[in-house]
């Protein structure tokens, strides 16, 4: 593997006595899609929070393109190329769908501190937003208020925000959770497209094994916050750890 885009070294967080992420060391390369699996409460979301800066690490390091960002704020990491979609939908509810995405494009273009021009006079940002909406098939809802959207459409918008950011690292936290059978493919196809584009590292927390089988180049297993397995999908799925800790009892429990 060439130099990793993202790397965690001994990454750890303790909540009181509870170790939610326990010395996880892992590197993620460009063009690689890594599925992160583990039972509920294993620490997957918390691991993401440590990487993208929503939580401060108790120990260990996060390296982004070789640069130590362990102490950097979430906004700094975003500008350095970390893109994070959230497990629980986390949008700007009373703004329109288009404005949600436009805000991301505006952040990407670093125009946030411009207070003298009219926001509506930046057509390139609106175009970027519309382009991202097109990719998740939300164009027809662009002028709706987010709070009026169905759960599935909100999940798609969550993905659109990430697309507009064009990050180096895409982090999807159960992107299709709660989506209907006909909605999920829109998001999964998109993730496949991103993978085919190459150049980014993609981290995907996902429960559905068939999805993982078709998309993932690699699987890592978290169990009680620790890295329990790491390798090729076939190999990891066959291993005893996964059979026992994950596939055996948790798969139905999402």
């Amino acid at each position: 593997m060439t130099d990793p885009v993202l790397e965690t070294k001994g990454l750890t967080i303790r909540f009181g006595g509870h170790v939610a992420v326990d010395h996880v060391s892992c590197a993620f390369g460009a063009g690689e899609l890594t599925a992160i699996v583990g039972p509920n409460g294993a620490g997957k979301t918390t691991y993401f929070n440590l990487i993208s800066g929503q939580l401060p690490a108790t120990e260990g390091q996060v390296l982004l393109e070789g640069r130590d960002v362990t102490r950097a704020s979430a906004s700094t990491r975003t500008h350095l190329g970390l893109g994070r979609a959230f497990q629980l939908t986390n949008l700007f509810p009373s703004l329109t769908v288009r404005e949600n995405v436009r805000l991301v494009a505006q952040s990407k273009a670093r125009k946030g501190f411009d207070m003298f021009s009219m926001a509506s006079r930046h057509p390139e940002l609106i175009e970027a937003a519309d382009h991202a909406l097109e990719r998740v098939r939300l164009t027809r809802l662009a002028d709706q208020t987010v709070s009026a959207l169905s759960h599935g459409d909100q999940r798609k918008l969550e993905v659109a925000l990430l697309i507009a950011l064009q990050p180096r690292v895409y982090m999807f936290d159960e992107p299709t959770a709660g989506m209907s059978m006909d909605e999920a493919p829109v998001v999964l196809d998109l993730i496949a497209e991103l993978k085919a584009e190459g150049g980014h590292a993609i981290l995907l927390v996902e429960h559905k094994m068939d999805v993982i089988r078709t998309l993932a180049d690699r699987i890592i297993v978290l169990h009680n916050g620790a890295l329990a397995a790491d390798g090729e999908p076939a190999e990891v799925m066959a291993s005893a750890v996964v059979q026992e800790a994950y596939l055996g009892k948790e798969i139905a429990d999402v």
Binding site: S75, G112, M115, S120
Partner: protein, 358 residues
């Protein structure tokens, strides 16, 4: 053209456009439409409070920051002008110096308060502003050698802005062509510039970020906006605009005192203006300020008239006694907040499509 001046923030409702147009025209031609000292006082006061309430709405309605120090910033502008005029040679220089000094001081104090407390929880910021504002108010009344204490300061402004200065003979539509007229247009024009400037800011990329932060600060940070920096900057800007409004008010009154520029009642008034008009829209601040100033100025008279016409009836004349005006003002507020939870502007726009901009 109009779109540009209003920064693309159109009223989006015919009724609202009409109300705003009426307010604008009445203020723009007040000296000719309503001759008389009292009505001109009222018009000037409305102009200043529109600017003040708009600057408060930038914080409260757009950035979602609750502050109780807004009158303190207003006072800094007012006292800045007063002290400069008091201590420098008469002319326009002290007015400019005092105005700039007041605005800079307000921005600097806002910066310090913001950096100290905006990182932590929003409620902490509200409490700090309350503490600082109370301390400054006490300080102003104690330092009577400098600030005039409770009595305040009367000071002289450039002659060109006083009634003694006549720039043309006779009258135009009932208005004397004197310095007072120029002073009024200084206040009106200044307030208008502040208001339109703020309108630009809230519709700029920066203003959109503030709205995003108000909606969901956690996500705003996650998509790359440094929330603390944005909140702090909004606070500084809002404080500076409040100070500018304060300077205009001092120039108009030729006087500052705790009651006109520092009192906590003003803080309550401004809060009510923003809430009644509708938070998160500067037009709401304009309407709220107009309604409140008018009510405060004329409610007593309206009531006196009403008491007279109902003189024969039981109980009513008593209730309508002008001495009860505060009670009625209070009831009006409660009613308006109850019936227009999203403010007058929200109500006027309600028939239209839901909130949320593109």
């Amino acid at each position: 053209m109009l779109t540009r001046i209003l920064s693309g923030d159109m009223p989006r409702s015919r009724a609202l456009s009409l109300v705003l147009l009426v307010i604008f025209l009445c203020l723009a031609f007040a000296p000719f439409l309503f001759p008389g000292t009292r009505s001109l006082e009222t018009a000037a006061r409305i102009s200043v409070f529109i600017a003040l309430a708009a600057s408060y709405d930038l914080m409260l309605g757009y950035a979602g920051i609750v502050s109780f120090a807004h009158t303190m910033f207003f006072g800094m502008g007012a006292y800045g002008v007063a002290l400069a005029c008091e201590n420098m040679e008469r002319g326009f220089l002290p007015v400019v110096v005092g105005t700039l000094a007041g605005a800079l001081l307000a921005a600097a104090v806002a910066l310090v308060i913001g950096l100290f407390s905006l990182r932590v929880r929003a409620i902490f910021f509200a409490m700090i502003t309350l503490a600082v504002a109370s301390a400054v108010a006490v300080l102003v009344s104690q330092l009577s050698a400098i600030t005039g204490g409770e009595d305040g300061l009367s000071f002289s402004i450039p002659r060109e802005l006083t009634p003694a200065f006549r720039f043309a003979e006779g009258k135009l539509l009932g208005a004397s062509l004197n310095g007072k007229l120029l002073n009024y247009y200084l206040v009106f024009g200044g307030s208008l510039v502040i208001f339109l400037g703020l309108l630009r800011v809230v519709n700029s990329p920066f203003g959109r970020v503030l709205q995003a932060i108000r909606e969901n600060d956690f996500r705003a940070e996650a998509i790359g906006y440094r929330v603390v920096a944005f909140r702090t900057l909004a606070t500084c800007l809002s404080a500076a605009c409040a100070a500018l409004a304060g300077s205009l008010f001092a120039i108009w009154l030729r006087y500052v005192g705790p009651g006109t520029a520092m009192g906590f009642e003003i803080m309550i008034d401004v809060l009510l203006m923003v809430v009644i008009g509708g938070m998160g829209t500067l037009y709401g601040a304009a309407i709220g300020a107009t309604l409140l100033v008018l009510a405060q100025t004329y409610l007593q008279e309206v009531m006196a008239g009403a008491a007279e016409t109902t003189a024969g009836l039981p109980l009513l004349p008593d209730l309508l006694n002008p001495d009860r005006w505060l009670l009625w003002l209070g009831l009006l507020f409660i009613a308006s907040i109850y019936f227009f939870p999203s403010g007058v502007v929200g109500r006027l726009r309600q028939a239209r499509r839901p909130a949320g901009r593109t």
